[in-house]
C-alpha cells in the first residue's frame, strides 16, 4: 500500500463519514460544516485523479460559495436543534436498516465487477488539466455545454418567480 492508496482510503472514509454526519447531525449548522468536509475530501479525490481544475472549482463553488449561502440562510432563519421536527423513531430505524441493506447488497453485487484499474492516477493522463478540459468542453461537448445554459436560465427564472414578493 503506497501513499496514494492510503490517501484514497482515508479520503473515502472521510467523505462517507462526513456524509453520514450531515444526515444525522441535529444541528443544521453542524450539517453544513460536515458537508464542507465531505466536499473537501471529494476534492482530494479529484486531485488523486489528476484533475486539479475540478478539485479547485469544487472547493470554490461548493465549499466556498454554496455552503456560505447555506450558512447564511440557516442563520437568517435562526434554525437550531429545537426547530428540528420530531420524526417517527420507527420510521427512522426502518429507513436506516433499509438503506444499510441496500448498501450491503450493492457492495456484494459490485464486489465481483471487473474494475481492475488503479484507485488513483497521479501524473498519468492530462485530461483533468484546465487546457484539455476546456478544449473538450468547447469541441466535443459544446452542444450539451450550451444546452446547460437553458437549465441555468430556467433555474434563475424559477428562483426569481419563487423568491420575489407577490
Amino acid at each position: 500500500m503506497n501513499v496514494t492508496q492510503i490517501l484514497f482510503w482515508f479520503l473515502s472514509v472521510l467523505a462517507l463519514f462526513g456524509a453520514l454526519m450531515v444526515v444525522t447531525s441535529k444541528n443544521p449548522v453542524h450539517s453544513v460544516l460536515w458537508l464542507i468536509a465531505t466536499f473537501f475530501s471529494i476534492s482530494g479525490h479529484y486531485i488523486l485523479l489528476n484533475a486539479q481544475f475540478l478539485a479547485i472549482v469544487n472547493i470554490i463553488v461548493y465549499a466556498g460559495a454554496i455552503m456560505v449561502l447555506f450558512l447564511f440562510v440557516i442563520m437568517l432563519m435562526n434554525l437550531n436543534k429545537t426547530t428540528e421536527p420530531k420524526k417517527n423513531r420507527w420510521l427512522k430505524l426502518a429507513g436506516g436498516v433499509a438503506g444499510g441493506c441496500l448498501l450491503l447488497v450493492f457492495i456484494a453485487a459490485l464486489k465481483s465487477s471487473e474494475i481492475t484499474q488503479q484507485t488513483a492516477e497521479v501524473k498519468t493522463g492530462d485530461i483533468g488539466l484546465i487546457k484539455n478540459l476546456g478544449r473538450e468542453l468547447f469541441s466535443t461537448y459544446v452542444v450539451p455545454f450550451e444546452i446547460s445554459s437553458i437549465l441555468f436560465l430556467s433555474a434563475m427564472v424559477g428562483a426569481v418567480v419563487i423568491g420575489k414578493k407577490e
Partner: protein
C-alpha cells in the same frame, strides 16, 4: 345506353336518402313534404328500375363490384350488385307497387302526428332500401344484409303503434320467428363458404354446375336455405307470425306482408334454382311443405272474421302455392305468381285499408255489410282482386295459378288434386269475405253508418291502377297451349332460370285442366254467394271452431316451446342471475372497493415514508436481480 346498369347503385340510394331525410327531419318537415319526399324517392327508383329493365330486356346483364366488403384470410366478399332478368323483374315489382303504396300511405296515415308520420315514412323507405339490397345483391352476403334489413323494418313497422303492448308482442313474434329462419340461412352461407370459398352467385352456381357438391352438402345447404325461406315467407312451421303482423298499419301489410318481403324466400330459392335442381329430396320437401301450408292456411281463412286476418291467411296460402311451384321445379311459375300476387294482394290489402278507413278503424267483417253502395270504387276494385285471386280467366291470377297447377299435375296427380282443392277454398273464402263485407245489410253502429264515405283520390287511384294491373298482369305469361309465344316471362327469365323440365302434358289435357278449374271455381263463387249474401251473425261450432282458432297452432307452440323457454328464463333470472352472476359481480366490486380503501393508506403524505417504500422496493429488485436470478 349502357349507362343505366352503371348507375344502378342509385336505385337503392334514393330510398336510403329518403330514409335519412325523413328520419332526421321528422320533427321539422311538414307532413306534405315528408309524403312527397317519401314517395318521390321511390318514384325515382321506379324510373331507374324501368330503365334498367329495358337494358336487361335487350340482353345486357351486369355484375358490378363496388368495393371489397369483407376480406378475411382467403375469403373476400365484394359489395356487388347483380342486375339480371330476375333481379330487374323484382326491382319493378318492389319499386312499382312500393310507389303506389307510398302514395296511398300518405293519405291513409294522414291523421298521425307529424313526427310519427315522418317516422313511418322513414321506416318505409328504409324497408324499400333493404328490399332492393336483397334482390340486387350479387352474392349471398349482400342478400343476407338486405334480408336482415327487411326483417328489422318489418319489426319496426309492425310495432309502429308501439304504445299498444299487443302490437309489440306481435312485432317481437315476427322478429323472433324470422330470426330462427335467418340462423339457418346464415349457417347455409357458412356452409357455402366452407365448400366453395366464395359467396358470389356466379361462382357458387358454376361450382354446382360442375357437380362438385356432394349429395349431402347440396341437400344440407338447400334445406337450410329453405328453412330460412320458411321464416321470411311464412311457411309451416314458422308461419304464425304473419297473421299477427297485421297489427301494423294496413299499407305496411300490403307492402311488406303481401307484395314484397314475404316473397323474399321465393326470390332466394328462384335465385338458387341451380342448387335446388340438384337435390330431389329438398325439392320434394319444398313442394310438400308449400302445399301443406297452402291447404292449412286456406282452411283457417274460411272462418276468420277480421278482414286483414283473412287476407293474411290468404297470403300464407298463396305463398304456399309459390313454394309448391318451386318444389315442382316450376321456378318461372313461382316468380310469375309472385308478380300477379303482388298486384292483387296489394290491391286487396289497400282495399281493406280503404274499408277500415271508412269504418273508422273497425276490422271485424261481422260488423260490416252492404258497403258496396257507399264505397263503390273500393268495392269494384276489391271485386277485381277477388276474381284475380280466385283465378278466373282472363284475370292475372288465372294464368299464374294455372301454371302452378299444371306443374303440380306433371309431378303427381295427387299434388294436383290437393292444390286444386285449395284453390277452390281460396275462391270460396275470398268471396265469403267480399260478400259479407259489401253485400247484405249494414250491421255496424249508426255512428259508423253515418261516417261511411269513399276514400280520397290519393287512396283510390292506387287502387284503380292496381286493379288494372291485376286484370292485365297475367298476359305476360299466357301458356303455350293458348297462344304460341305467349309465355314471354319464361323466355325473358330463361338466362337465369333453366326452362322447366317435366313430362310435357298434351295441349288437350291442359285445356281440360283449365276448364275444370275454371268451372269449379265459378261454382264455388256461386255457392259463396248463396251462403253469404245475407250474412247473419252466428257462433262457430264443432269443426268450425277449430278452424276459427287456427287449428290451435299458436296454443301448441306456446305449450311446447314458448312456455318451457319462459320457465327456463325465469329460472335463470331468479336463481342464476341473482345468486351466481350478481354474487360474482358484486363480489368483484366489493373487493375492488375494499382494496382501494386499503391502498389509499399507502399514500400517507410523508416524504420519508415514500422514500422508505421506494428504497425497500429497490432493495427487493436488487436482491432478486443479483442473488436469486439465474
Amino acid at each position: 345506353m349502357q349507362n343505366a346498369l352503371q348507375i344502378a347503385w342509385l336505385i337503392p340510394l334514393f330510398p336510403l336518402l329518403g330514409f335519412l331525410i325523413n328520419g332526421l327531419g321528422r320533427k321539422h318537415l311538414s307532413k306534405s313534404a315528408i309524403g312527397v319526399i317519401g314517395s318521390g324517392v321511390i318514384l325515382a327508383s321506379f324510373v331507374m328500375s324501368i330503365w334498367v329493365f329495358l337494358q336487361v330486356k335487350d340482353g345486357n346483364t351486369h355484375v358490378a363490384d363496388y368495393f371489397n366488403f369483407i376480406s378475411v384470410g382467403d375469403l373476400s366478399i365484394p359489395f356487388a350488385f347483380q342486375l339480371d332478368q330476375l333481379s330487374s323483374l323484382f326491382l319493378l315489382i318492389i319499386t312499382g307497387v312500393g310507389f303506389l303504396i307510398h302514395v296511398y300511405s300518405a293519405s291513409y296515415m294522414h291523421e298521425e302526428k307529424t313526427e310519427h308520420f315522418g317516422r313511418y315514412f322513414s321506416y318505409l323507405n328504409l324497408f324499400v332500401f333493404s328490399m332492393l339490397l336483397l334482390v340486387m345483391g350479387g352474392n349471398y352476403v349482400i342478400m343476407f344484409i338486405g334480408w336482415e334489413g327487411v326483417g328489422l323494418c318489418s319489426y319496426l313497422l309492425i310495432g309502429y303503434w308501439f304504445k299498444k303492448a299487443e302490437y309489440n308482442k306481435a312485432a317481437n313474434k315476427a322478429f323472433i320467428m324470422n330470426r330462427i329462419g335467418d340462423l339457418a340461412f346464415l349457417i347455409a352461407i357458412f356452409w357455402i363458404i366452407k365448400k366453395v370459398g366464395n359467396v358470389n352467385y356466379h361462382d357458387v352456381f358454376q361450382f354446382a354446375g360442375e357437380n362438385k357438391f356432394s349429395t349431402a352438402d347440396i341437400t344440407g345447404i338447400t334445406l337450410l336455405l329453405f328453412v330460412g325461406a320458411t321464416g321470411k315467407s311464412a311457411q309451416i312451421p314458422l308461419y304464425t307470425w304473419l297473421p299477427d303482423a297485421m297489427a301494423g298499419p294496413t299499407p305496411v301489410s300490403a307492402l311488406i306482408h303481401a307484395a314484397t318481403m314475404v316473397t323474399a324466400g321465393i326470390y332466394m330459392i328462384a335465385r338458387s334454382n341451380v342448387l335446388y335442381s340438384l337435390s330431389h329430396t329438398t325439392m320434394n320437401i319444398v313442394a310438400i311443405v308449400g302445399l301443406a301450408t297452402a291447404l292449412l292456411a286456406a282452411t283457417i281463412a274460411l272462418k276468420q272474421n277480421d278482414i286483414k286476418k283473412v287476407l293474411a291467411y290468404s297470403t300464407v296460402s298463396q305463398l304456399g302455392f309459390m313454394f309448391l311451384a318451386l318444389g315442382t321445379g316450376a321456378y318461372v311459375a313461382a316468380v310469375f305468381h309472385v308478380m300477379t300476387h303482388a298486384f292483387f294482394k296489394a290491391l286487396l290489402f289497400l282495399g281493406s285499408g280503404s274499408v277500415i278507413h271508412a269504418m273508422g278503424g273497425e276490422q271485424d267483417i261481422r260488423n260490416m255489410g252492404g258497403l258496396s253502395k257507399k264505397l263503390s270504387v273500393t268495392y269494384f276494385t276489391f271485386l277485381v282482386g277477388c276474381i284475380a285471386i280466385a283465378g278466373i280467366p282472363p284475370f292475372s291470377g288465372f294464368f299464374s295459378k294455372d301454371a302452378i297447377l299444371l306443374s303440380a299435375f306433371e309431378k303427381s296427380p295427387v299434388l294436383y288434386g290437393i292444390a286444386l282443392f285449395t284453390a277452390l277454398l281460396t275462391a270460396f273464402y275470398m268471396f265469403r269475405l267480399l260478400f259479407i263485407t259489401f253485400s247484405g245489410k249494414f250491421r255496424g253502429t249508426h255512428e259508423q253508418e253515418h261516417h261511411l264515405h269513399e276514400s280520397p283520390a290519393a287512396m283510390t287511384i292506387p287502387l284503380i291502377i292496381l286493379a288494372v294491373l291485376s286484370i292485365i298482369g297475367g298476359f305476360v305469361g299466357i301458356p303455350e297451349a293458348l297462344m304460341h309465344g305467349g309465355d314471354k316471362l319464361s323466355a325473358f327469365l330463361s338466362p337465369v332460370i333453366k326452362p322447366h323440365e317435366g313430362t310435357p302434358v298434351s295441349h288437350s289435357t291442359e285445356y281440360g285442366l283449365m276448364a275444370l278449374s275454371t268451372v269449379l271455381v265459378i261454382a264455388m263463387i256461386i255457392a259463396a254467394w248463396f251462403k253469404f249474401r245475407n250474412y247473419q251473425r252466428s257462433e262457430a261450432a264443432g269443426f268450425g271452431k277449430v278452424l276459427e282458432n287456427k287449428w290451435y297452432v299458436d296454443e301448441l307452440y306456446d305449450k311446447i316451446i314458448v312456455n318451457p323457454l319462459n320457465k327456463f328464463g325465469g329460472f335463470l333470472n331468479s336463481f342464476i342471475e341473482k345468486f351466481v352472476i350478481d354474487g360474482v359481480v358484486n363480489g368483484v366490486g366489493r373487493i375492488v372497493n375494499y382494496s382501494s380503501r386499503q391502498l389509499r393508506l399507502l399514500q400517507s403524505g410523508q416524504v420519508g415514508s415514500y422514500i422508505f417504500l421506494m428504497v425497500l422496493s429497490m432493495l427487493v429488485v436488487f436482491v432478486l436481480q443479483f442473488f436469486l436470478r439465474k
